[in-house]
């Protein structure tokens, strides 16, 4: 018995001495977190398929990524994310080993080493004005020749050495109004043609020596009509342009620098055609394509500028770039849609009649139309030519097609996430037992034996690998049912392509995806875009047999009065339940706190005319809404105007009759910032789903402070208009940052504070009763973070115990915004080393766990910073009592502890946002960071105090219990026997 007691105490001691850890061990990476790498929608692609070495394709994307992908599997070899303002204009491969990129409107030229992506050189190109950008890499068969890169950018032509990036020559053009359209290098020649328009009818050609940039010849020719500025290159000395009326084609030939025009009317060429024509880009020699209405016409240019129609098609057709094929031949691909199939046709440029290849490929409906095609050839095993094409789809996905099948695909739309919401997984249905999913007993025992070995540090490296594998494989975390701790959820993600994804939080796999039909191009909705996602229906009463759904709000176009569209999507099946276009615009969507009898949440959509529309449009919803009408307030921020306005609702829409779901608004308050001294740069509110555990905060000496907790607080930051630009554009004297806390019901300014010599960008988070914001201090030349905490003084008298006992307190009285608030604010500022891309705060189910700030740093990582570091009550020398309370001594800057990066060694390239979602387990919060990459993890800001850790060895516990029981029996038997012997003696 004594041994048992001893063992138990030993176990207790052992458990209490276990120091909980803040960071991860190396082998815990990937247990609860996942990381996915993307590149974005591909703009250009260049194949590099030399005989030796790995086959790869170099791509540049709309997310400003230049990447090298494995052609066999689609994996990323290397990848660079350029800055958000550094858009890539063109890529090419030079010397067979460098990837050349032109970016930032033709002003930065870089070379990257092809095998490993190291930057080799970088040149910045100067020029007087913005212009079309073109990148031309000399392709010559001679290896020893120093191949030149010819760049058109910022109105100048540059010749750059591809070996070291030295600018060899620069050619500025005399004519100011010249708009260069094309730069042509006839094969095997030493000169280049630069062609462009200097006015609507004046066509200019410069002949320039490619070696030194000398102007050899300059010709100008006036056309009798006007040009539409659309130009297509047919061969090295023939161009085809459209006239301004888009009804005739003009063939321009440059015979040894001389310009000659030849006009041909489209209606003569193509019978029965009407309407304006559009040139389709076609880099294939001798053939160009024109689109008239929905018909694509292929026209061949024969000798002396004769035009001849070779083909007409009504299917949507995409033409690939030209592929240099056998001796002097060019091949190209055509992709046509037919239902959910696509036809891939390879043709030779000078032989339209026959096809090199014709394949039909089944395509997933959720990928939409083909947007871009890049073609590449290879030698088959039977020495014939094979072709593979890289296809960019409407949903931004990238596919490689070969031999009539999709070899690999990448869901690149996940690189441009617009909005995120979460959905619970289905409840576990009865009858399907978890035990069935588990392996057999032997496997289970073996796993635990391995785990035990691991804990006792007896495991060999192979065992460690096996343990890791078991941990990763444990299907527990990727199951499709709700779990007790609430770790498993669906992340519903809306992307810029208009595609909706459901990602499983366990392993990040795509559960379903849906290209929303209403967010695709149509006649009524020319430029649709997704705006927001809201939880529409979250069933609690009938959770077993009803599925939750989300509301997708989109609009047709950028302008504020563009009409809106709504879609309702089932989150379990990924099916559109309902979707319709609206007859009003969408300026703001307000989810209301009440739900109707089917648990659909009431949403109010405010349009540009300040009318409020109620959804769902049912009489029941109106009934619920009418009863709450007088207590609903809204506000609108006119950031450009510097005005914030508060509104209340009226029972009827003005000017609209018989629409009982439309409500008018009236202006209740306004805050007008002086336009000459203040400009709104940031506004933040509390998260609507945030839970605050307690209003009281116990401070030193058993004193209590009451947090001022209001859902209607708005944090606004304004800066001097002069200082609203880049850091360094204004002096400290003429820049200031003013922050406000505004009650959005009454428009009361609760707090107003100015930071002199500071400027934006401002990133802020608002939680409970505090705001933390990040800005730049010009005087100290450093970034700063400040905290404002706001406390309610009207409840401060409730400290007396007798008052509480006798019920003479005002703690239970309802709070009204119309009472004059008695608040105090506390504030403090600290220096912070990093600039910040995004900021968020952890969110837990009950709000008991202490908070951490999640800071997306400039290095694309996420840093967790304890809120205790941003406590305005910090002092240089805290008293003993304050120390016990957990107040950290004041320091001038916030510490950055390397272990507190939640992304550990990974980077979330192009970080744009951080989302936190509470798990059911109070200690844990789920964090999702997105940019070009995605990263998900679980965080426990106060450590997992309410659960055993994942690697807790239940087997060890079980074994000890068994051993103890056995020991008890053995000792009992022994003592019995001894007693017996004693008695017999």
């Amino acid at each position: 018995m004594a041994a048992a007691v001893r063992f138990f105490i030993l176990l207790l001691l052992f458990l209490s001495s276990l120091n909980p850890i803040l960071s991860l061990y190396e082998d815990q990476v990937g247990l609860v977190d996942w990381h996915q790498q993307y590149i974005g929608k591909v703009k250009h692609a260049v194949f590099h398929t030399q005989k030796t070495g790995r086959k790869r394709v170099v791509v540049s994307t709309e997310e400003n990524v230049v990447a090298s992908l494995d052609l066999r599997h689609g994996e990323i070899f290397w990848r660079h994310v350029l800055g958000t303002k550094d858009a890539i204009d063109g890529i090419d491969i030079a010397l067979g080993k460098y990837v050349i990129t032109l970016s930032s409107g033709g002003s930065i030229l870089r070379a990257w080493n092809l095998p490993d992506g190291q930057m080799v050189w970088e040149s910045s190109l100067q020029g007087p004005k913005d212009s079309k950008t073109l990148l031309l890499v000399e392709k010559s068969s001679k290896v020893d020749k120093d191949n030149m890169v010819i760049v058109l950018g910022r109105g100048c032509l540059h010749g750059v050495s591809s070996v070291d990036g030295e600018i060899l020559w620069k050619k500025e053009f005399d004519t100011q109004s010249l708009k260069i359209q094309q730069v042509i290098q006839p094969p095997g020649s030493d000169f280049i043609y630069v062609v462009g328009f200097s006015s609507s009818s004046l066509f200019e050609v410069y002949q320039i020596n490619a070696k030194n940039g000398e102007e050899l010849q300059h010709e100008t020719a006036a056309f009798t009509g006007d040009f539409s500025q659309e130009l297509s290159l047919v061969s090295s000395e023939t161009l085809v342009a459209l006239d301004a009326a888009r009804s005739s084609l003009v063939t321009i030939s440059l015979q040894s620098g001389k310009i000659s025009f030849q006009q041909a009317y489209i209606s003569h060429l193509v019978e029965g055609s009407s309407g304006p024509a559009v040139m389709l880009p076609s880099p294939v020699t001798g053939i160009f394509a024109v689109k008239i209405n929905a018909v694509t016409v292929f026209i061949k240019v024969t000798g002396e500028g004769k035009l001849e129609v070779v083909d007409k098609t009504e299917h949507t057709t995409i033409i690939s770039d030209a592929l240099p094929f056998t001796e002097g031949q060019q091949a190209f691909a055509l992709v046509q849609h037919e239902g959910n199939k696509i036809h891939l046709i390879m043709k030779l440029a000078d032989n339209w009649g026959s096809d090199l290849l014709k394949e039909t490929i089944e395509m997933d409906q959720q990928r939409g139309l083909v947007h871009k095609v890049f073609v590449n050839n290879y030698i088959r095993t039977d020495r014939s030519h094979g072709f593979r094409v890289l296809v960019v789809m409407e949903d931004h996905s990238l596919l490689l097609l070969q031999q009539g099948a999709v070899v690999w695909s990448r869901e690149e739309s996940l690189a441009s996430i617009v909005d995120i919401t979460t959905s619970e997984l289905p409840l576990e249905k009865q009858g399907v037992s978890v035990a069935k999913v588990e392996h057999n007993l032997f496997e289970w025992l073996k796993g635990h034996w391995l785990k035990l070995k691991g804990t006792l540090m007896l495991a060999s490296p192979e065992d460690v690998a096996a343990i890791q594998k078991i941990r990763l494989k444990s299907s527990e975390k990727s199951k499709m049912t709700r779990d007790h701790n609430g770790f498993r959820k669906l992340l519903i993600v809306l992307t810029r392509a208009g595609k909706l994804f459901a990602l499983h939080t366990g392993d990040g796999r795509i559960v379903w995806s849906l290209l929303l039909p209403l967010l695709r191009y149509s006649e009524n909705c020319q430029h649709p875009m997704g705006v927001n996602l809201y939880q529409w229906q979250v069933p609690h009463h009938h959770a077993m047999d009803e599925n939750p759904s989300v509301l997708v709000v989109g609009k047709c176009g950028q302008s504020s009065d563009a009409l809106g569209v709504l879609s309702f999507v089932d989150t379990y099946t990924g099916k559109v339940l309902r979707s319709f276009g609206l007859d009003h615009s969408v300026a703001q969507v307000v989810p209301l706190p009440s739900t109707d009898s089917t648990e659909q949440r009431l949403h109010l959509i405010i349009d540009a005319d300040k009318h409020a529309h109620l959804y769902p449009k049912t009489p029941e919803a109106v009934g619920i809404f009418q009863s709450e009408l007088s207590n609903i307030y809204g506000y609108s921020i006119e950031a450009d105007n510097g005005i914030i306005k508060g509104h209340a609702l009226k029972s009827k829409c003005v000017g609209k009759e018989a629409d009982e779901y439309c409500f008018g608004t009236r202006e209740l308050w306004s805050v007008v910032f002086p336009s000459e001294s203040e400009k709104i740069i940031a506004t933040v509110t509390r998260r609507p789903n945030e839970v605050v555990h307690t209003q009281a905060k116990v401070i030193v000496d058993q004193d209590v402070m009451y947090k001022y907790i209001s859902r209607n607080l708005l944090f606004v930051a304004t800066v001097a208009p002069k200082a609203s630009g880049e850091i360094g554009s204004a002096t400290p004297e003429e820049s200031w940052l003013i922050v406000y806390l505004i009650d959005t019901v009454t428009g009361r300014i609760l707090h107003r504070m100015s930071h002199h010599g500071s400027q934006g960008p401002v990133h802020a988070v608002f939680s409970e009763n505090w705001v933390v914001y990040h800005y730049f201090n010009l005087r100290a030349h450093r970034y700063e973070m400040s905290v404002i905490e706001i406390y309610d003084q009207s409840r401060a008298e409730n400290k007396d115990v007798w008052k509480l006992v006798l019920g003479k307190h005002n703690l239970t009285s309802p709070i009204s915004s119309y009472s004059r608030p008695e608040v105090v604010t506390k504030s403090q500022s600290y220096f912070f080393t990093h600039s910040v891309k995004a900021m968020a705060v952890t969110l837990t189910a009950k709000g008991i766990t202490s908070k951490q700030l999640l800071i997306g740093t400039i290095g694309d990582q996420v840093l967790a910073l304890d809120k205790r570091f941003l406590d305005p009550r910090r002092t240089v020398n805290p008293t003993q009592a304050e120390k016990e309370e957990g107040i950290i001594p004041l320091t001038d800057s916030l510490p950055i502890i390397p272990q507190s990066y939640v992304t550990h060694a990974l980077k979330v390239e192009g970080l744009r946002g951080i989302i936190t979602v509470p798990a059911k387990l109070e200690s844990t919060t789920l964090v999702f960071a997105h940019g070009v990459d995605l990263f998900f993890t679980q965080l426990a800001p106060s450590r997992t105090y309410d659960s055993l850790t994942e690697d807790f060895s239940y087997a060890l516990l079980l074994l000890t219990i068994i051993a103890l029981v056995a020991a008890i029996f053995v000792t009992w038997v022994l003592s019995e026997r001894k007693d017996l012997q004693e008695k017999w003696r």
Binding site: A648, R666, W669, S670, V672, I742, S754, P814, Y830
Partner: protein
């Protein structure tokens, strides 16, 4: 060792007043304003409240030009149009550097006419909004837009009609006005008609306050002492954290000893009967042997 600690302590002591001076850098700003450059861009008004501003500015008032200005308050009942309701008069102080601030705000309220009383009663019955507005620029009213504020009419009546204005200004601009009752207005708003139809107005003028600066402790680590100081102060750990590996075995040994000691008397207790039993058996055997012998 001790000496170093003492000097360190002394240093922090001597630093403390200085750093606290840096926290409240109000004075520095005043200086800035006094010697402000001619024609410099308009600066922020000092963050002090009006009475303080008056007292600190009194001696400068000769050099700075003052002018009196008026701007009107307008009100509306529910959705009705705005009509004049009173006049604010204030002193506009122009500083040498071109900045202008409002001081000495006075307010004269027009009483309600009978018609307005009726309208107000209607508001009280309907629990509707009583709205007021001010120009956003006092020099060229209405400025860019009117500043509107509103309150539920039922919040105003006490004995008379109590109202409270907080006007947030920025130079000659008015940013916002917070209008409401001076006290609380508990939620189930009761319908209560005022006894007297006269206004009891309170007005407060508010400017932006200055944010506390980030503390700067650069002086705390003066070159030479730095390295030594770090050597002197190893990270403080608790007694338990330092010696737990010794304490646990010690505890075990002690525990062992205690259980041993507990067992000992027990054993002794059982042992003594045993020893007592020995002679007893001996005694017993004795007779039996004696019996055998017999």
């Amino acid at each position: 060792m001790k000496r170093v600690i003492v000097t360190f302590f002394f240093l922090t002591l001597s630093l403390f007043p200085f750093s606290s001076f840096q926290f409240e850098s109000d004075e520095l700003l005043l200086d800035d304003e006094e010697f402000g450059l001619e024609g410099a861009p308009p600066r922020f008004p000092e963050p002090a409240s009006i009475p303080a501003a008056r007292s600190s500015r009194k001696r400068h008032s000769d050099s700075d030009s003052d002018s009196k200005i008026q701007f009107s308050l307008e009100h509306a009942f529910g959705d009705s149009d705005f009509s004049p309701a009173g006049t604010f008069s204030a002193r506009l102080k122009t500083w040498n550097h071109g900045g202008q601030t409002l001081t000495k705000l006075r307010f004269s309220r027009n009483g309600f006419t009978d018609e307005e009383k009726e309208k107000f009663k209607k508001l009280l019955q309907g629990d509707d909004f009583y709205r007021i507005r001010l120009p956003s620029n006092v020099l060229s009213p209405p400025g860019r837009d009117y500043i509107i504020s509103s309150v539920k009419a039922r919040c105003l009546p006490r004995d008379g009609l109590d109202e409270h204005f907080v006007i947030h200004t920025e130079g000659v601009n008015i940013l916002a006005v917070n209008y409401g009752s001076p006290g609380s207005c508990p939620y189930p708003r009761q319908l209560k008609l005022p006894v007297k139809w006269s206004f009891n107005s309170h007005t407060v003028l508010k400017n932006s306050e200055q944010a506390p600066r980030a503390p700067i402790f650069t002086e705390e680590v003066p070159g030479g002492d730095n390295g030594e100081g770090e050597v002197v102060q190893p990270p403080e750990r608790s007694f338990w954290a330092k010696y737990w590996m010794y304490l646990i075995p010690l505890g075990l040994i002690v525990m062992n000893a205690i259980t041993q000691a507990m067992n000992m008397p027990e054993e002794q207790a059982t042992g003594q009967p045993a020893t007592q039993g020995q002679p007893a058996t001996g005694v017993q055997r004795g007779p039996s042997a004696a019996v055998r012998r017999r």
